[in-house]
């Protein structure tokens, strides 16, 4: 196969994979936005927080060890055990649920009925707070994240080798695909299907959609707003955890993880704030678009690193012509 073509394919595949991760973060945004009208800027930091908590629990780190040492002059770092990945993930989910409850109880219950922009700024504050807490709890250095599925070593022995061989040049075309990317795609697909099934066919899911549709009507038929909001924030926390694991396995758990939240914003604008398929499609478009633009135009003609702004510019141009996004509900203004 032609070399240039192979490169282009690899770029597209890479873009698709990055897009999957953007889409995962964007998914968390959409969940919360649909149910409570809160535009949750802290989603990316939640992913960071979840990933750091996971690593911390896995390695048996003492939370706030650094701070405790500084205050009391002690020298504690680790409990001296390590937790199995699966258990650690369960614990982390529990932490995210607790976090969801606290956010709901201590922040947004007091802000009900405020303007959307005020809620948005509150989530920016929340993002700062969470980032500081995560750093204090687990330390801010770069941590490798080693979950079995990232390494592919929980598969049977022969299967892993077979997968490696097949993906090394993708069925003889010469295109290289990372195992991790395939895992990420499959997990994301399962997650999306699971969320859709949950929203469509379970009692809680229906209640969630009812709240998304109309708060007061939902209240009047006996749906507990508080419970639904905690539920939604927990779900978003879970999605953040998945995104955090994917991204962390790829490039380690570090601060830049929270910056993908910013990348998720143009994804949302492209896909529409209220649409789950929109988040996925938007994520893929942005992922492929920025990689292709960098490859075809950015690197040869503009001096590179166009990935930093391409997504925002695309969203900006897009918004001027279609303010509600690809799949969003039409914006109707009433006086």
């Amino acid at each position: 196969m032609n070399e240039q073509l192979v490169y282009t394919f690899e770029v597209i595949v890479n873009g698709l994979m990055a897009g999957v991760l953007y889409a995962l973060v964007a998914l968390g945004f959409v969940l919360i936005y649909k149910a409570s009208g809160i535009f949750n800027y802290a989603q990316g930091v939640m992913a960071l927080f979840a990933a750091m908590t996971l690593v911390g629990i896995q390695n048996g780190q003492v939370p706030f060890a650094h701070l405790i040492n500084a205050i009391f002059g002690t020298d504690v770092h680790k409990f001296g055990w390590s937790v199995h990945s699966f258990l650690a993930i369960l614990f982390t989910v529990a932490v995210m649920v607790l976090l969801a409850w606290m956010v709901q109880r201590f922040v947004f219950r007091h802000l009900v009925g405020q303007e959307p922009i005020i809620l948005f700024m509150a989530t920016i504050g929340l993002a700062y707070f969470l980032e500081g807490v995560a750093d204090l709890m687990w330390g801010s250095e770069l941590k490798p994240l080693d979950v079995c599925m990232a390494q592919g070593n929980c598969l049977p022995q022969g299967m892993n080798g077979w997968l490696d061989n097949t993906t090394y040049d993708a069925w003889g075309t010469g295109v290289f695909i990372d195992n991790l990317d395939i895992v990420a795609t499959i997990v994301a697909a399962i997650l999306v299907i699971g969320l859709i099934v949950f929203a469509q066919y379970t009692k809680q899911g229906r209640a969630m959609r009812a709240v998304a549709d109309d708060h007061q009507a939902a209240l009047s038929v006996g749906v507990s707003l508080n419970f639904i909001w905690v539920l939604v924030w927990s779900l978003a926390g879970f999605v953040a955890l998945v995104a955090g694991i994917m991204w962390g396995a790829k490039s380690g758990v570090q601060f830049s993880l929270s910056l993908i939240a910013l990348k998720a914003l143009p994804v949302l604008m492209l896909g529409g704030f209220t649409s789950i398929p929109g988040a996925i499609v938007g994520g893929l478009i942005i992922g492929v678009g920025e990689k292709l633009f960098e490859f075809l135009i950015g690197a040869p003609f503009l001096g590179g690193a166009t990935e930093n702004w391409f997504a925002y510019m695309l969203a900006l141009l897009f918004l001027v012509f279609r303010p509600q996004g690809l799949f969003g509900e039409k914006i109707i203004e009433r006086v």
Binding site: F39, H66, L67, A70, I71, V107, H110, L111, Q114, P116, I117, I118, F120, M121, A122, I124, G125, L126, A127, Y128, F129, L130, E131, G132, V133, D135, L136, S140, L262, L265, P266, L268, M269, L302, G303, G304, A305, T306, N308, W309, Y312, M313, A315, L316, L319, V320, P323, E333, V335
Partner: protein
Amino acid sequence: MFYREAGDYSTTYAEDQQTFPIRFDRYRYYIVLFIAIVVVPFVVNDYWVNSLLLPFLIYAIAALGLNILVGYCGQVSLGTGGFMAVGAYACYKFMTGVDIWWGGELLFRLPEFNIFFSVIMGGVMTAIVGVLFGLPSLRIKGFYLAVATLAAQFFLVWLFNRVAWFYNYSASGQISAPERDLFGILITGPSVAPWAAYLFCLIFTIASAVIARNLTRGASGRKWMAIRDMDIAAEIIGVNPLRAKLTAFMVSSFFIGISGALFFAVYLGAVEVGEAFGIQKSFLVLFMIIIGGLGSIFGSFAGAAFLVLLPVALKVVGVDWFGWPTDIVAHLQLVIVGLLIIVFLIAEPHGINQLWRVAKEKLRLWPFPH
């Protein structure tokens, strides 16, 4: 809020409409000005100027600018860092003489501008860029606009990083301010007297505050506030949204550009764009106006003072008194700032300005509160 007070008579319209109608407020304002202009320059040393006063004055200008856009006109912007960068780079280019190239040849070179006019030009250029990026605000609103302004932030920072013309092809990719003087007194460069840098920034801060105050209580300010409160209703009563929003973007960017120019030329001396004018700066200035008070001039100053003081105070308490490592203090600072934002949004959405106003009212009536 008390606008008038017993025994405080005005006999002319001019007196009736002045900025500080209460005599006590007016005198307090004069005293603050007097201390800032006449007393402070004689007593400050290097530490005070560089770690407190200069950042306070410069951030106060940026906060004023952003407050006009967000607090008065209701258009949320996250592009402050990018606009400050425009001010800084424009100031740099005008300081060192703008060179225009065409087809590989030097077409012409402007003479080097005086530092004062360079800073002004920094503001003017930023105003132009701000209007360009403000154009989408006519179609998109709320946090859609906030995200759109992120485009400005990232694009501008990238532009100044990649296009060598902006940093005069220097090898490091940084811009550093050459020595420039005003009336023979050094303003920029490594060997500036603290009081000179302080006074230079103070002039701009006072001028900005006076301009901002008068703009916001005049016709244009009322139009901005009408747009903020309800844009459709404002349009129906005859406010042109195009003009109102774009003038808000223009004035706001002008101030932010000036603060960026000062930040680079007087305060830091040399900047690397991603570091000095990154997205964190945008949030910092936004936090200043949230904490200080959206839609208030005093609030911009209070918020700037608060967020400049906070890290310094934390450092003094944490590192110097308790002997904690600096990274813990930095993380604690994040936690505290985040908490403060949330607490202010919940408890006092109008910020420090409102606290100050309530305190003043209580003190006026004290000890007979009825």
